[in-house]
């Protein structure tokens, strides 16, 4: 990266951060709107109920703004079930879910990328390419909850340990417990077939570009030239796009494996109608998604010299 290009890059970055903040504001409005359909006062743990004579719309807006103010100060209220502050609960569980998300994304990339590269070069003519593609389709249609049970059963009977108790099981296979839910989430919840299709299509498109032909004519390595546009950019794009899917899948997988993450907490909160908790979890999940998207934009801007000259 040359020093001369830092200034326009910084400008575009600031624009992107501003856009992300705007979206987060929108997210908070949506969450507020959904919760206000709840009977009674769903915000009771944060705000006092509005006065009896308060007019409808302006009262709502004022309620929203006060609520937002509390939010920004870190006060998300207290869980109606456990009484603990929602903020701490959400932060604690989100770390577990973050681990699941990153691990699952890594696993699904490890599966999707080789298949995409292989089928991009050989096409569907080869038997291995065909078999791998069928496998990705099967995995993306596999219900995560059933596959999780199969894995747990295999763990109990083949490896003789009960992977549902944290820390309390036999010392040998403790590390396994951290690996299984990531495995199931990575295999089943990522929309593998979509990932493979997108990566392969982008790679094929880039490989047919003129500048790749020039690289071939020069005799130099094609992969070096195709890497940025054909691999780095599509991978970050698809990773950012799949984060919401993984978070949704985490709800199911954490249930299966009794994993103390945000998903299981969300399920609990929905069962108990614990408004502050579910609200905090939704906001946190949306924050994750926006952060992923922002990271992707950063990579795109840094890598692509054109992006910093135009406003994308």
């Amino acid at each position: 990266m040359k020093f001369s290009s830092i200034k326009p890059i910084a400008g575009t970055l600031i624009r992107e951060i501003f856009a992300a903040l705007l979206l987060l504001v929108g997210v908070s409005v949506v969450v507020f709107a959904v919760l206000s359909f709840a009977p009674g006062n769903p915000f009771s743990s944060i705000l006092a109920a509005p006065g009896a004579g308060a007019p409808a719309i302006t009262g709502k807006i004022w309620q929203y703004l006060t609520w937002l103010g509390h939010l920004l100060r870190g006060d998300l209220g207290h869980s109606t079930r456990s009484g603990l502050p929602v903020f701490d609960e959400v932060i604690r569980t989100s770390l577990y879910t973050l681990y699941l998300t990153i691990g699952a994304m890594a696993i699904s990339l490890c599966m999707a990328v080789p298949v995409a590269i292989f089928t991009a070069r050989r096409g569907m003519a080869s038997a291995t390419g065909w078999a791998m593609t069928i496998l990705t389709y099967v995995f993306s249609a596999l219900p995560a909850f059933w596959f999780g049970y199969i894995v747990i059963y295999a763990a109990i009977h083949r490896f003789g340990f009960f992977p549902l108790a944290v820390g309390g099981s036999t010392a040998d296979w403790n590390w396994f417990y951290f690996f299984l839910p990531v495995l199931v989430l990575g295999f089943c919840s990522c929309g593998l077939s979509e990932m493979v299709r997108y990566l392969r299509e982008e790679l094929v498109r880039v490989l047919s570009q003129d500048y790749i032909r020039t690289a071939r004519a020069k005799g130099v390595s094609v992969w070096k030239h195709a890497f940025k546009e054909g691999f780095l950019l599509p991978v970050t794009e698809i990773v950012a796009a799949k984060v919401p899917f993984i978070l949704g899948g985490a709800v199911v997988v954490e249930q299966v494996f009794n994993w103390p993450g945000m998903g299981r907490l969300a399920w609990q909160a929905a069962q108990d109608r614990d408004f502050p908790l579910i609200m905090g979890i939704t906001l946190m999940a949306a924050l994750f998604v926006r952060l992923g998207s922002l990271l992707k934009q950063v990579v795109h801007i840094v890598v692509n010299p054109r992006a910093s000259h135009r406003s994308e």
């Binding site: 969450v31 249609a141 219900p143 909850f145 919401p244 899917f245 579910i278 979890i281």
Partner: protein, 301 residues
């Protein structure tokens, strides 16, 4: 001489300009197989829904037979065996389709309708409309589907149809972006300018030209993928306990209640509905991707 020679055959010496090679010759056989499988799955779903609606089951799905628990497939006429309460699994699977068929159609309908409108507006008008639609699409995309649904369930315990409407809403941004890119591509073609200059001022007619003639395949493909998504959400929800409740079967809650019997060695009550989910969603995915390859991709695989 190797076996792997690729053969290119021209069938006639003279190829007419107007010869239309039929699709089953042109298309890659793998794509055709995918589409056939997908269509078979769709047929089966529709037929099962119809038979479930009219109450045509091989056995009563709620009939408990305590003497025939956890039977394996093909015992005493039960095609897929019985579950842990002796109920016929095949009939329960058919009944389970009721849980997602109509709601899924609703989700798909909303996704396509909303997506097309937003895509057309933002592609055709551009400018501020485009900015607004993009903002809304990004906003909707920021929520993981299940988390948003859980939020709604916590807030006001909605009906499955309202949940599916929201699922359709969350699928709409994908449709929007595809239609928008298609519209932008078509706008650069001259026939749009020609239509406008010919006085075809009615924008609705132009939308028909763009939408009906050129976006049909796209919409069908997105419909299949949207249906697959809806099935997955519905089964996940009923697995979590928020959808259809026992004893009414849904494929998700069948998996969940059957899973308790894994440790006793009875896999089938849980696996049968899971395989049903697998093959159905696989069918929709393959149908969508196969059609995509045949209709949308201009060059060969």
């Amino acid at each position: 001489m190797s076996i792997k020679m690729k053969v290119f055959r021209q069938h006639t010496l003279r190829v007419s300009d107007y010869s239309q090679v039929p699709i089953w010759r042109k298309a890659h056989p793998v794509d055709l197989a995918c589409v056939c499988y997908g269509l078979a799955v769709v047929m089966m779903v529709i037929v099962s829904y119809a038979s479930g609606m009219n109450g045509w089951f091989p056995f009563d799905p709620q009939a408990i037979q305590m003497d025939l628990l956890n039977a394996l497939p093909n015992t005493e006429g039960h095609l897929l065996g019985t579950d842990f309460m002796g109920r016929d699994i095949f009939s329960r699977l058919i009944l389970g389709i009721q849980a997602y068929f109509l709601p899924g159609l609703l989700a798909v309908g909303i996704a396509l309708a909303l997506g097309s409108i937003c895509g057309l507006v933002s592609g055709y008008r551009g400018g501020r409309w485009d900015a607004a639609v993009t903002y809304a699409a990004n906003l909707v995309d920021s929520f993981p589907r299940l988390v948003l649904i859980l939020l709604m369930i916590a807030a006001f315990k909605p009906d499955i149809y309202i949940i599916m409407a929201v699922v359709g809403l969350t699928h709409a941004p994908t449709v929007t972006s595809m239609i928008k890119s298609k519209v932008i591509f078509l706008k650069q073609q001259n026939f749009i300018e020609a239509a406008v200059s010919l006085g075809l001022k009615n924008r609705i007619i132009i939308a028909k030209h763009i939408l009906w003639y050129n976006c049909r395949a796209l919409l069908i493909i997105q419909a299949t993928l949207g249906m697959a998504e809806a099935i997955l959400i519905e089964t996940s929800l009923s697995y979590l306990g928020f959808g259809v409740q026992e004893p009414m079967p849904s494929w998700g809650n069948m998996v969940q209640s059957g899973a308790n019997y894994f440790l006793q060695g009875h896999f089938w009550p849980s696996t049968a509905p899971a395989l049903a989910i697998l093959f159905t969603i696989l069918g929709f995915h393959l149908l969508g991707d196969g059609l995509n390859n045949i209709l949308e991709r201009k060059q060969g695989r």
